[in-house]
């Protein structure tokens, strides 16, 4: 059986597949578990503080419980807590491979990082090109799911989120993921067109399980999931470096703003929901985001993998009431 390779956020997954390993996005394992609080408990029992990001604790809990031996830790371009997390994992005997997206989006530096991963996983260019081509086919199917959301209105905001967010590891088997995506499209393509206030969801994916359901219940329709779409790497030309240099998420807020502006125009978005994770440095970036778009913005701060509390519900409901009253 192929060895699992865990990672802390989206990495050039093509290399892992080409090396014959099974990529595991540790965030996905954490959040799709029926009892994600268990992983947080594991981390807190080992001394992780209560007042810090629960995604990091969840990742740690998953690595420990699932006995994952190798973890690619994204040290630049994601979360600053990953530094300490990778030190703790190393201390506990896990093999940690650091990966860095260059903050200045420098092509040469990114190329070096990609070459490094290729060396570690013994992947040559020929093998990588073959796998990359196959994965591109899957990415194109995911892109179609995205279009079916904002153009046809037959895919819900939650379904859009789920298909795109899981693209980071394609559930460990890209061929099967492609098949699943195709059959999903067959199933929903003639569904009834969804109505609702067209919303953009920006920021990291929510830790809250009923987030999209509640928005939909109150008359909203998420037609753009910013980071999730980025995780699906919807860039089809060029080589692997071209693709991961176009990817906005790791290159700071300004790279993201450009992408968000383009997409909200294209998707006819009426308002924005900015999700931030409690204790995350990205909360500060809300200041810049609020000044960058000419649309109403609601900022929601989530903490634990638990259903929306009354206060969050109040904000979302009031926000949608506000948008409706100003129609």
């Amino acid at each position: 059986m192929a060895e699992f390779v865990g990672f802390t956020t989206t990495i050039p997954v093509e290399i892992i597949f080409a090396g014959g390993y099974v990529p595991v996005d540790l965030n996905n394992v954490f959040i799709t578990d029926s009892d994600p609080m268990r992983f947080i408990d594991i981390a807190e029992k080992d001394g992780f503080p209560r007042n810090m990001c629960n995604w990091i604790k969840g990742i740690y809990g998953v690595v420990k419980e699932r006995k994952i031996q190798t973890v690619i830790a994204v040290m630049v371009g994601d979360c600053s807590n990953t530094h300490a997390l990778s030190e703790i994992l190393t201390h506990k005997g896990v093999k940690v491979i650091p990966f860095a997206y260059p903050f200045d989006r420098d092509r040469e530096s990114l190329n070096r990082e990609i070459e490094k991963l290729m060396r570690i996983f013994r992947v040559d260019h020929e093998k990588l090109t073959k796998v990359q081509k196959e994965i591109t086919t899957v990415r194109k199917i995911l892109n179609r799911i995205d279009r079916l959301t904002y153009k046809e209105g037959v895919v819900s905001g939650y379904e859009n989120h789920l298909w795109l967010v899981r693209a980071s590891d394609m559930m460990g088997d890209y061929e099967n993921y492609g098949k699943m995506a195709r059959s999903f499209i067959q199933k929903i393509k003639n569904s009834k067109k969804r109505e609702g206030i067209r919303l953009a969801y920006i920021g990291v994916p929510p830790i809250i399980p009923d987030f999209y359901d509640f928005i939909e219940e109150k008359g909203g329709f998420v037609v753009f999931n910013e980071i999730q779409r980025q995780f699906s790497l919807p860039f089809f030309g060029g080589n692997i470096v071209d693709r991961y240099i176009k990817y906005t998420y790791p290159y700071g807020i300004f790279a993201r703003i450009e992408d968000i502006k383009r997409e909200i125009r294209k998707r006819n978005v009426r308002a924005i929901i900015h999700y931030v994770q409690a204790f995350c440095f990205r909360i500060m970036e809300d200041i810049i985001l609020r000044d960058s778009f000419n649309l109403p913005i609601l900022t929601i701060e989530g903490e634990l993998p638990k259903p929306l509390d009354t206060r969050m519900k109040l904000r979302i409901e009031a926000f949608l009431e506000m948008l409706r009253s100003n129609d």
């Binding site: 509390d309 109040l314 506000m322 100003n326």
Partner: protein
């Protein structure tokens, strides 16, 4: 024709009756307690008792507040943010910014000339800067909650409470007491801390737009009102009973539904 608005808050519940001319026939304010469903029923019964009416005489009921879903007798539920905006617009049509400080929430709402919400901000999970914060501080200082606002206005020194967290601020207050600081000066610091916290929310909306009004139970505390007026450099309008603004807005929306 008669309609009712009911605002089930975390600490108090208000019920209000409105006639077809938008005249307030009566209102009541009760402690919410542990059983908000029962309290909502009692509040409605109480407000209906004076004009000798019963629930069948009501053409429409709108419930609001964090316990709004518990009012099973209501025809509709609407968030307090929308209701406060409508309530303030009815009593002060010229107001464009509303600061509502309740038991566990602080909200800053920007409204238009029709009382529609244009933008709003609200404190997150932490109860710092809310009515609960004042209760904890009053308890730590062993002073009646109703007196702390006026006492703070008698301060001589401008003490600063630097902690944002209610728990840390309580420790800071206790330290100030043991250092021999005067009660009035400490209370000034507490009220100033609430004003600063609210200012943070106002700044997220890009500052205030005049006129400014305050609603919610904390609007009865002149220490907070003065601290906010000083921080904002404007006069704040306060309705004769600021706690009923949410219920009033709910009743106005109820009236619109049937007329």
């Amino acid at each position: 024709m008669l309609v009712a608005g009911i605002d089930i808050g975390s600490i108090t519940t208000e019920a209000l009756l409105l006639d077809e001319e938008k005249g307030i026939l009566g209102y009541t304010i009760m402690q919410t307690g542990a059983d908000s469903k029962r309290t909502a029923e009692l509040a409605l019964d109480k407000v209906l008792a004076y004009p000798k009416k019963n629930i069948k005489d009501l053409s429409y009921i709108v419930a609001t507040g964090c316990g709004r879903k518990r009012a099973e007798f209501a025809n509709q539920t609407i968030t307090e943010i929308t209701c406060i905006a409508r309530g303030i617009n009815y009593v002060f049509p010229e107001v464009r910014t509303v600061i509502d400080i309740g038991g566990q929430d602080t909200k800053v709402i920007r409204i238009d000339e029709k009382g529609r919400v244009v933008e709003f901000e609200m404190n997150d999970k932490c109860a710092a800067g809310t009515g609960r914060f004042l209760e904890v501080m009053a308890h730590a200082l062993n002073v009646d909650i109703d007196k702390i606002g006026d006492l703070s206005l008698k301060h001589k020194k401008e003490l600063t409470i630097s902690s944002i967290c209610t728990v840390f601020a309580e420790s800071e207050v206790i330290s100030l007491v043991s250092e021999g600081e005067e009660l009035e000066d400490i209370l000034y610091g507490i009220h100033k801390a609430i004003a600063d916290r609210t200012l943070g929310l106002i700044n997220r909306l890009g500052g205030i737009q005049k006129d400014v009004a305050m609603a919610g139970g904390v609007a009865k505390n002149m220490g907070v009102v003065k601290a906010l007026e000083n921080a904002l450099g404007v006069e704040i309008k306060i309705y004769v009973e600021p706690q009923i603004i949410g219920a009033l807005g709910a009743a106005i929306i109820a009236l619109e539904k049937v007329s």
